[in-house]
């Protein structure tokens, strides 16, 4: 049914509800994201932006409704196939989720290791992506001693190192000054031109303006009619 809506869709969200205990975090959300789209989800604090992204990478399950990502119905996907789904995604988490006991290099490399990339290629790729985000000097540091912005840049590097077909970015420039933010924005744009689909949750107006793309508004879990 939803499959037929659009052959070009890479993400389809259909009448999705999400409840946490008694709290409604998402109410009747329907979204169709075509391949190579750039979708910006804005909305105030607690609107459900992060929750919506979590549904896409299966950190949370929908309470009702359907989610399809790259042809996979997330309600029916088996436990074993979840890593397979996640390797298609590059996720920038709002709280970075870096492993504190691993170096910056290892934090980024783990994505490639999990995909089974060759050791030598990993070295090359990780170094190159860290150079892009301006973190090549801190390659052997551990995340807890990095500044907030530095941690965020490592998180971005990890998200893009595996050449994902979809990037889910939750507030990717929240801790960055505008110069650093611009570097990240350029990076995301570069991936977009290469064909990657972008889904970005943010309340940063600067980011909304700069990155370009379709903007949807969430408010208290409901998708607002686009103004």
């Amino acid at each position: 049914m939803i499959d037929t809506q659009s052959k070009n869709s890479i993400i389809q969200i259909f009448r999705v509800y999400k409840k946490y205990g008694g709290k409604h975090a998402l109410t009747d959300v329907t979204l169709d994201i075509p391949k190579n789209d750039s979708l910006l989800i804005s909305g105030p604090s607690g609107a459900g932006k992060t929750t919506l992204l979590k549904l896409l990478y299966l950190a949370e399950k929908v309470s009702a409704g359907q989610v399809l990502v790259d042809g996979m119905n997330l309600a029916r996907i088996s436990r074993k196939r979840i890593p397979f789904l996640r390797r298609k995604l590059g996720i920038i988490f709002q709280d970075y989720k870096l492993i504190p006991t691993k170096t910056v290099f290892d934090n980024v490399a783990i994505v490639l290791e999990a995909m089974g990339t060759k050791r030598r290629l990993i070295q090359k790729k990780v170094k190159s992506v860290l150079r892009t985000v301006g973190m090549e000097e801190r390659i052997n540091s551990f995340p807890p001693i990095l500044s907030g912005g530095e941690q965020q840049r490592v998180a971005v590097a990890r998200a893009v190192v595996g050449d994902p077909i979809i990037i889910l970015a939750d507030e990717p420039t929240g801790s960055l000054d505008s110069d650093s933010a611009n570097i990240i924005i350029e990076l995301l744009k570069k991936f977009h031109t290469r064909g990657t689909t972008l889904v970005i949750a943010t309340h940063d107006k600067e980011l909304l303006n700069k990155i370009g793309g379709r903007i949807v508004h969430l408010k208290q879990g409901c998708l607002q009619p686009s103004a």
Binding site: K80, R86, K97, I99, P100, T101, I110, V111, M115
Partner: protein, 292 residues
């Protein structure tokens, strides 16, 4: 595989404290279990050496021809539970009695002829040394026409055998209890360590690592921890044992038995078990923390 192995080594280096705690816990647990095993093995040895004193005396009717005694001996030798049979002639018997009662020599002054019968002293194989087996053998012996009378040690020796078996039983029970406790403690510690690292596990899953990829280094670590912990525990025990046993053997002048350490086989078994425990602890804990 080599990758996982490298990751495991890296991981141990990254989490020195947690690994140290796990290894120490395993070492202490192994120390407890094997110290008790050592104690038990040696105590059993000592008691066994006493128990060897338990023997059955079968007194012959008078005037059995000397020729028949050999055949009879062989026959008894074949009885179930018999370890060896020794013929004691009445002359030997009287001499032994005299030696035994040398404080009352007056008792033998008036003896005109040797009132004792010939006898067989029968030792039983150790596993058959409980009251039922002894009594079974006694009955069979009494049924022989050549045998007049059967006597088995003193009553306390039979009781003693029971107590020895009780000692053995409680020893095994206690050993079992200690082993289970050790497994619990180790599993508990590993759970705690993985609990500490559950966020890390979660992050790895979120960036697309398969469960097997996440688990592999932990298993390797568990095995390394188990083997290392077991070895350290046994090494500590061995050193303590050397120090203590040399002192004990001196001050107690226990020349009649030698305190022995666990055999290589037991040693190997303990390290193997400890390795298994390390692995198992990881397995169960990982299962829990990777569930949802």
């Amino acid at each position: 595989m080599i990758l996982h192995y490298k990751r495991a080594i890296q991981d141990i280096l990254d989490h020195k404290f947690l690994n140290a705690v796990t290894i120490i816990t395993i070492a202490i647990s192994i120390l407890i279990v094997s110290a008790f095993a050592l104690f038990f093995v040696n105590a059993s040895d000592i008691i066994s050496s006493w128990q060897k004193g338990v023997r059955i005396m079968a007194y012959l009717r008078p005037n059995i021809p000397h020729a028949d005694i050999g055949a009879l001996k062989l026959k008894i030798q074949d009885f179930y539970g018999v370890q060896n049979v020794k013929f004691i002639s009445k002359e030997e018997g009287l001499q032994m009695l005299k030696d035994q009662m040398k404080r009352q020599p007056s008792l033998f002054v008036d003896l005109k002829e040797n009132p004792l019968p010939d006898a067989f002293a029968i030792r039983m194989i150790p596993t058959s040394k409980n009251r039922e087996k002894i009594e079974g053998l006694t009955t069979r012996l009494e049924a022989l026409p050549e045998i007049n009378d059967v006597e088995y040690g003193h009553r306390w020796l039979a009781r003693f055998t029971n107590i020895f078996n009780l000692f053995k039983l409680t020893g095994f029970a206690l050993g079992g209890l200690f082993s289970v406790a050790a497994v619990f403690i180790v599993a508990n510690t590993i759970r705690l360590v993985l609990y500490t690292r559950r966020e890390e596990l979660e992050i790895m899953r979120l960036v697309g690592a398969a469960d097997s990829f996440i688990k592999a280094p932990f298993y390797i670590e568990g095995i390394i921890q188990g083997a290392l912990g077991g070895t350290i525990g046994l090494a500590v025990l061995f050193v303590t044992f050397l120090i203590v046993s040399s002192n004990v053997q001196q001050s107690f002048a226990l020349d009649f038995f030698t305190v022995r350490f666990l055999s290589i086989k037991v040693y190997g078994t303990i390290i193997f078990c400890s390795t298994c425990v390390g692995w198992l602890g990881c397995y169960l804990s990982l299962k829990q923390f990777l569930k949802s």
